[in-house]
Symmetry: C2
Amino acid sequence: MKTVRIALCQINPTVGDFDGNVKKIVKFIENAGAYKPDIIAFPELAVTGYPPEDLLLKPQFIEDNLNALREIQKKVGDFIVILGFVDKKDDIYNAAAVIHNKKIVDVYHKIRLPNYGVFDEYRYFQAGTRYPVYEMGDVMFGVTICEDIWYPDGPAAVQALEGAEFIININASPYNMGKSNFREKMLSVRASDSSVIVAYLNTVGGQDELVFDGHSLVVDENGDVIAGAKQFEEDMIVIDLDLDAVFIKRLRDPRRRQQVISLGKGIVERIRIERKPADIEGRQSSQCYCPTTIPCCAEEEVYNALVLGTRDYILKNGFKKVCIGLSGGIDSSLVAAIAVDAVGKENVTGIFMPSPYTSKDSGEDVDELSKNLGIKVIEEPINDIFEIYLKTLKSEFGDLPPDATEENLQARIRGNILMAFSNKFGRLVLTTGNKSEMSVGYATLYGDMAGGFAVIKDVPKTLVYGICKWKNPKEGRTIIPERVLCKEPSAELKPDQRDIDTLPPYEVLDPILKAYIEEDKSFDEIVNMGCEEDCAKKVIKMVDVSEYKRRQSPPGIKITPKAFGRDRRFPITNRYKSW
Amino acid sequence: MKTVRIALCQINPTVGDFDGNVKKIVKFIENAGAYKPDIIAFPELAVTGYPPEDLLLKPQFIEDNLNALREIQKKVGDFIVILGFVDKKDDIYNAAAVIHNKKIVDVYHKIRLPNYGVFDEYRYFQAGTRYPVYEMGDVMFGVTICEDIWYPDGPAAVQALEGAEFIININASPYNMGKSNFREKMLSVRASDSSVIVAYLNTVGGQDELVFDGHSLVVDENGDVIAGAKQFEEDMIVIDLDLDAVFIKRLRDPRRRQQVISLGKGIVERIRIERKPADIEGRQSSQCYCPTTIPCCAEEEVYNALVLGTRDYILKNGFKKVCIGLSGGIDSSLVAAIAVDAVGKENVTGIFMPSPYTSKDSGEDVDELSKNLGIKVIEEPINDIFEIYLKTLKSEFGDLPPDATEENLQARIRGNILMAFSNKFGRLVLTTGNKSEMSVGYATLYGDMAGGFAVIKDVPKTLVYGICKWKNPKEGRTIIPERVLCKEPSAELKPDQRDIDTLPPYEVLDPILKAYIEEDKSFDEIVNMGCEEDCAKKVIKMVDVSEYKRRQSPPGIKITPKAFGRDRRFPITNRYKSW
């Protein structure tokens, strides 16, 4: 039987941490070595971390990345390592080194550069033009990078038609809800279209607003998933690929013969790599030496993404401890739960800052939450500070009636107190606003928006409820207090305030926001969804005029197909009225 | 004599304001019509405003832009209008309509899409592939868009080799210091390289962080500037182009004959447009019906850019009045002067918020500044509020020594007061931080960084001094108080504080920042510039760890080749140490 053993190392590198990334890669090479694989692969730009953004404009950064590659190169023995790095030739390239016996045998340059959504690769890289196929003994394979595999007629298809029996596709593919299902489907079709095994290796970890979810997969020539790595954790897949099966499939694949004639013939370069006499004793077809993961529900998946994104933001930025303003509401409760799962209860402090408008229930709910989570809570009432501000401003405000000014003042006093704790004790402030609020600007700039990381910034309010309702049974005990799950949402910044005094109910609001923000639907289309005209108009207007607030918000984790931040680039100065 | 009369309309459109932009364009067509020109041109994306960013992902926005084009089309009589808009075919294109007698004769698609610096055009547009040349009677010309002209072998060169006697190049080219000189040089060389007249038409106005400086130019076939429009103002150039001179130049241009053979022959499309019998009575060679502008010094140019950018941000966002925290320092003094020139003294209010650490001089300087500018100043001491915060926090802070926490608290109290005025009276808060501070993080998030627009965010401190020193003699009287120009910079947040306790002197700091930020120089290169190692290391480190602050800063006007914001995209999570 003709087999090849590959190890896919799903690692969590840190942007710019060359020393740390080299150590990690070398350690994974050693660990994988125990399985005596033919090939050990690492993700896209594993050496630099992804995305390095404008660090790529610094020549010294490119050099340091090449030096890191040389360090790793030395550790590569009688097997192949495939490793993402930045290649420097006449220009720079998003590249994969193919290393064998301490030598770089070839460098593949990413051909398809993504420049949409959160991606800006045309800003940095020249696109590759070569289609190499590697002949390792009697085994033929191709290497491609991320976006390359998303094109039906891309390099993987060409390499497969020219004989590659499997494709190693290395990625730094950020998470959003629903993406992993679609990705699996796409990979399955690409593999079966080309009668080729596709080994999809993704990076894992949080980087500013992005979470890379790992979830690496191996799909066989029929499009069936034969191995899968964990989601949101470092992991390794070691698997024997049955290449006889690929040949059998190709013999029975009449479309392939037509395609070979029409596509790509002769455009690949063949590169020979010596193969050590394979220790194929005991190898079985497509045997996998690691358990595949069990798919989880959407709420769990998002929760895990938030935990990983939060943990990595905190730790990779050199923090250990966080503080969170707790209001007794559902948003801050969820953020506290995430923080505890991210860095441990001993590193999370809640700060409860009641005002005259804070209900008794809120205080009790904060107490219960903190007991459930086992975190410390500090109480800092803001009444006195609020009074002095009002007194100070009285000279200019006179008898003008209270309005949003006084509400914002309270939120900003809380922001100041949180930041004072942050400054004094070196704790990162986690903010607690959700996507629904961020969308319509129902949040106070420099108030509840003040902080280093906005954990649930991209989570719509209805999903916040969904996740909280999943969390309690999942833990087998109450984490989010029951009353928090069912009481009416309120900012408690003036007497008897309720969110629905200002906003449509969240079950109405969230679908409008999804249609307008994520799907770029027009006003008419939104009304046709069954939304009242006035309501649609009001919501769209609120979204449009809040851009200036979002521009000053802290980063937060992207979990939807279109998050605010680099993913949605809107002008602030914008007179376009879409209604 | 063979002449053609062109009118270049240097307008200030607003992003998304289709009604306003159509009205403005139609009015300019009418005004230009009085000169009976053959061609009236408008800037790149004049219909939508530039850059529309992700509004381009909304199908309705594209449709509304096409409807606006149709409105304008109806107003075009027996002459040609060239107009930037978004074309929709199989995809969308950054396009120029060539309109004649109410009909769209042709649409040119921008071929070279910029995707660096502040530009993201690959995110939105498909690139054009056609090279049309228009034959209007016996006159031949080409149309190109912005980036197209920056390529030596770009479409303008091809069109010229195929017979175009002049090129109308429409732009939305943002300002930065020194760019207009380089641009003029480049246009001059392009024109002389191809023996062609180049009419460079730029848009004018502020859009979020960008200022378009206008400064449209006509350069003749020898590379000499024969007309120039105002910088930072709407304007119109009407000029008769001498096309006989182009032919004479070509007869004497031996390189051109070689080029015609090797480049582009046959790839253009020729499109005929009827020309009315030209009213060429009285036309003289290259006569210009508008005065060209006088170049101003760098300080004046930057000041004008700041005034226009500030005015447009305020007015295009629907504000009229602003407020500014005045400290008696040079930064807030300059911002106040800019604000007065932008929206008038009656719309500018200063707020002076002394603390126990505020010197007597500061109060006097604020008084003098406000008298010089004729603006109202409100005094709101922050002592009482500061005291209450300290008292409230005492329970947790205990006897810990004062540190940056207490300094930041004062800055944040001021931020809250400013925002309260903003909220209560609908005044936009202008922040006063300069680029040197923003670079090294010498600013308080939610404190002095709180506000809607950061006027001098991209102006290094040494240039702040330069501008202020230029301003007084320019006005022929004192605007910035003399003491403000010479006293030592201090944040006045603790006793006897001076900027140089924390930072190197600005004359040392600014060149390091320029090298590191604008030029991406390495640590070694900076040390080789003559900077002390410790100093270079400290500065670079401060820049690197302040990225999180900059990410939450308000937008401000780009005046250097590389501003913070969309122009410099850095990860916050970044362990890269460049020293």
